[in-house]
């Protein structure tokens, strides 16, 4: 799949934002006044900014409101609802933290749950696609949730959660890479099944239907070199999980927060880029590309 910057930005930032918001909602980082305003503001900025970025890849963003209509069947619609609900439900808690109203935490907890739901929905948008076998697994939403949780924990320097989550995410990433590599073959879709021509022998492309690119080839067919991918994988695990853990363990909180977040984000972007770039859509079969 084409690793579109807007989608990478959207998923990484909104995931991180919801992670931060969830931590704050749960009251795991007791802050007040300007500090609370800053922390909540950061969480909101990331979440809303990410969601905003997602509209860049829409053909008709002015109709984005319509995306709320199909919550019964569409994970994208559910994501829209969950995101908005999380942002709304968390608002009183945020205000309460900033202005010291002391509202009961239960609302924050509910908001945190909605934030998690939003992230889950984002993950499910990808995980539901049979057409992309690498994504089509519970590990995809688990990854998204783990990224959000770890991001939240790093930004807010919640130890030892962060350290534990680093280990979990690292494990999930490695597992996802490994499982993902065999997923396409395991799904059983081949150029033979895609065309039904395997009855004549193994099919190979003779001529493409168009000599230039089209929407499908641009959007769904992306080829990333194996060596390049292997390097990026290592980088993703190191930057997203291992290095932040080390930084958090070694450095004092304020410095660690900034440094670990930056490193983690770099890792998250690498991982998310790979998430798309390595994902192969079955339509590539028709083009002799997978």
């Amino acid at each position: 799949m084409h690793p579109a910057p807007s989608v990478i930005l959207f998923t990484v930032l909104s995931g991180l934002g919801f992670g931060v918001l969830a931590v704050l909602g749960l009251g795991a980082l007791p802050l007040a006044g300007w500090a609370a305003a800053f922390a909540w503001g950061l969480g909101y900025a990331l979440a809303v900014g990410g969601l905003g970025a997602s509209t860049f890849h829409l053909g008709n963003p002015q109709r984005a409101w319509r995306a709320f209509s199909q919550w019964r069947t569409s994970w994208l619609s559910r994501e829209a609802w969950a995101s908005v609900a999380a942002l709304l439900v968390l608002a009183p808690t945020a205000m309460s933290d900033v202005f010291g109203w002391g509202l009961p935490r239960i609302l924050g907890g509910l908001g945190a749950a909605l934030a998690a739901l939003a992230v889950l929905c984002t993950g499910m948008i990808y995980a539901q696609l049979r057409t992309v076998p690498r994504w089509n697994h519970w590990i995809t939403p688990a990854l998204f949730l783990a990224f959000a949780a770890l991001g939240g924990a790093i930004v807010t320097v919640r130890l030892p959660w962060a350290l534990g989550l680093c280990a979990i995410l690292a494990g999930l990433l490695v597992a996802a890479f490994q499982r993902g590599d065999g997923a396409f073959a395991a799904r059983g879709a081949t150029l033979g099944s895609a065309t039904g021509l395997d009855r004549l022998g193994a099919p190979a492309v003779f001529e493409l239907p168009h000599s230039g690119p089209n929407y499908l080839t641009r959007e769904m067919i992306f080829v990333v070199g194996r060596r390049h991918a292997a390097k990026l994988r290592v980088l993703a695990v190191v930057l997203a999980c291992l290095l932040p853990a080390a930084i958090l363990a070694a450095l004092p909180a304020p410095v660690a927060a900034v440094l670990a977040t930056a490193v983690h984000l770099a890792g998250a972007f690498a991982a998310r880029w790979l998430f798309f770039a390595e994902a192969e859509h079955v339509v590539g079969l028709y083009y002799g590309r997978r």
């Binding site: 209509s69 019964r72 003779f206 239907p209 168009h210 000599s211 230039g212 089209n214």
Partner: protein
Amino acid sequence: MTAEPRIERSPPVSDEVRKTTCYMCACRCGINVHLKDGRVSYIDGNRDHPINKGVLCAKGASGIMQVTAPSRLRAPLRRVGPRGSGAFEEITWEEALETAVSWLRPLRETAPERLAFFTGRDQSQSLTGWWAQAFGTPNYAAHGGFCSVNMAAAGIYTMGGAFWEFGQPDWARTELFVLFGVAEDHDSNPIKIGIGKLKARGVRVISVNPVRTGYSAVADDWYGITPGTDGLLILSLIHCLLEAGKVDLDYLARWTNAGFLVNGTEGPEKGLFVKNAESQPFVIDRRNGQPAPWDGRDTEPDLGAVWDGQRTVFQLMAEEYLRPDHAPEAVAERCGIPAARIRGLAAELAQAAFDKAFLHPQPWTDFRGNRHETMQGRPVSFHAMRGISAHSNGFQTARALHLLQILLGSVEAPGGYRLKPPYPKPVEAHPTPHFVATPGKPLTGPHLGYVRSPADLALRQDGSPARIDKAFSWDAPLSAHGLMHMVIPNAVAGDPYRIDTLFLYMANMAWNSSMNTAQVIEMLTAKEGDAYVIPRIIYSDAYASETVAYADLILPDTTYLERHDCISLLDRPISEPDAAGDSIRWPVVEPDRDVRGFQSVLLDLGARLGLPGMVDDAGRPKFRDYADYMANHQRRPGVGPLMGFRGADGSATGRGAPNPDQLDRYIAAGGFHQAHLPSEAAYMKPWNAAYQDWAVDLGLYDTPQPYLFNIWSETLRRFQLAAEGHGPRQPPDHLRERLRVAMAPLPVWYPPMGEAEGYPVHALTQRPMDMYHSWGSQNAWLRQIRGKNALYLPTAIWEAQGFAEGDYARVTSPTGEIVVPVAHMAALNPHTVWTWNAIGKRRGAWALDPEAPEAVEGFLLNHLISEVLPGAHRISNSDPVTGQAAWFDQKVRIERVGPRALAEPQFPVLPDPPRAGAGRGANFRRKFGRGGAA
């Protein structure tokens, strides 16, 4: 859940439908042009039309893009910079026409042959030829010489009709269909419709073709023959059939010259038919062993007769083809087809022709006056085209294929191959060539024709060729369509002479239509002192093609939806085996710029020059425009360009006085007219009295023209005799041997000429079904489908040189070198490479971006193909009989060069001539009007 959106299921389709004729190939399908707000909105096929019955091909269905193409020219142009510089100024039509007149008038008055007028895939040859005749130049032809004249001439000389679109299998009755070397052909949609019909009936389709794409891909069996060896294969099939006695003796005896006696006595008559006192060949009646007239009512020709020591054609033929060197085992290796497969194909042919034979319950009377209660069905049919004919042995190979069909008794038999009126038409009913130029006078007859003997050759007093293309000379005696591909090289070489003005119409001679393109470009700009060697070039194109840049005066044409055209029985009509048919184009929309239909322009030029037939007695233009000509011109009294709605009241068909309302009647009838054959006349046409009478009534001929098929060709033998030293007209010595071989009276095979050592691989092109030569690429839809081409390599070459995806190869011939992208194809003859024809474009042409894939990666094979054979004498790289360009004789060497992104050679970017504008890179939403292209 919300309710399903309501959708408009029944929107109005268009405001108006106008029915006219498609133009993107010579198939000439009927189209419905839908108009919304006076603009073309959609084009689909006319269901009532005999050719396409509603279907359209990819080009036809995107015809709208031809009209909106930004490459369209806008106004007449005069060159103001050097040739090829693209420096033009727009001028008025008056200036353009007067310029042309000022060039042409002095030529006509002094040396008409100094005008060479050649037209490409012209659909108005009866007009352009007539114009050239009136002008008086011998130098006229259309594209047939570089196209498929081998197929045309071999058909006419053998059976009075050819493949092309001039006949077709009896789709409804045939039980086996064999295609030789066809990728698309002129009969595009009919062949596809036909194959569809066979598939629906489960009838086997067999393709003989080095490449397995398109029709060959759907064929039930594929013979991946080595190029240039079809003659060997076919004669070997004939060997097998003769050996097993599987030939239709009755058919041979009655309808062919198999029973004629051939003079076997050494001397100037050897190989000619034995004639009686009336100079007629005759046969021996098997009942009494006595000579009898060939067309005698009760004659039963004895194929085995020996009379006065002379034997029949049948015996000579059998003797020839039964020889062991025609056995499958002897040819298998050269053809690249195992002997058992050849025998298998022969058995399949015999099974279809004889085991599946049937009697068609249609009584008929033959020309001898014999009544038959039924017609003998022979349900095996063939079709062939350039795969056979674009070789230097193509004429004889096509003859061999016709002989095969004739031996099976299937030509014009139910289930076999059926000709379309005005065919069948024997050689004798065609004119001989006319070529004597007299200042200020028209030619005494048509340029193109069918020579019968050396006496008909177009030679000057000194024996040199009378025509610039050397057609009908010893170089190519039976060149019935001329040699368009030799005009520019000959004119520049001054061989046989120089010309003054080259007048071209719709032929892209500076690119894909020439052999040796790079050098032809140089020839077009070659100078002697300050002057161009070809001093003047006038060209009519509708688009900014490569050739436009090389002309001095451009006459911009309309497109096919904006003009009158006439698809006439006088040249290439739209007949079906069961009906004669013709059709028109008419302006379904008006051009939005200063362009004029070329035919009208030609008539205007003719009138300005005062050419006979184009002016009245007072010297005023006789025809307002082409439409006026279509309705009012008469070729013979009562016979004009269009057969339908003739006579004052429009009730006559074929013969009748001109009708001023004729075109309106055509328009009302959907743009075409048909005259159906009575069912008695539908088969066996060359010998069927009912058909002959119908054809005379319609005006196809003036008297019945029954004839026998020529298994043995006396015409060819006369040339062979000359080559052997007999007769007053003698070929030059350097041509003797090749004439002796190529002019054999029975079909023969000889290796293609001009193959050089060290070039082991055959290189071919194929037409893509979705592109028409060079001009499909200006169609924004089609160029997305096929915007570049690759050279397909067979597995053996691919693997031996370690080719990988993305690689380029250097392809070398004795003529040149190209470096081009390659791809792998398994279903390919192992000694053959090929690519799609004419996808490669010159940078800057066709209003395409100079970085367009067509120009960057697309390529032409033509750079590798020489227009002359190696050695002295500038012998054209053509069939020695007909002058057919031998495009497919090309042999090359292939070397891997690894990944690249640019094909070679590259030429300087052609500057954009003044044209319609927009286009390049424009974001394109609405295709026509509504603010899109123009």
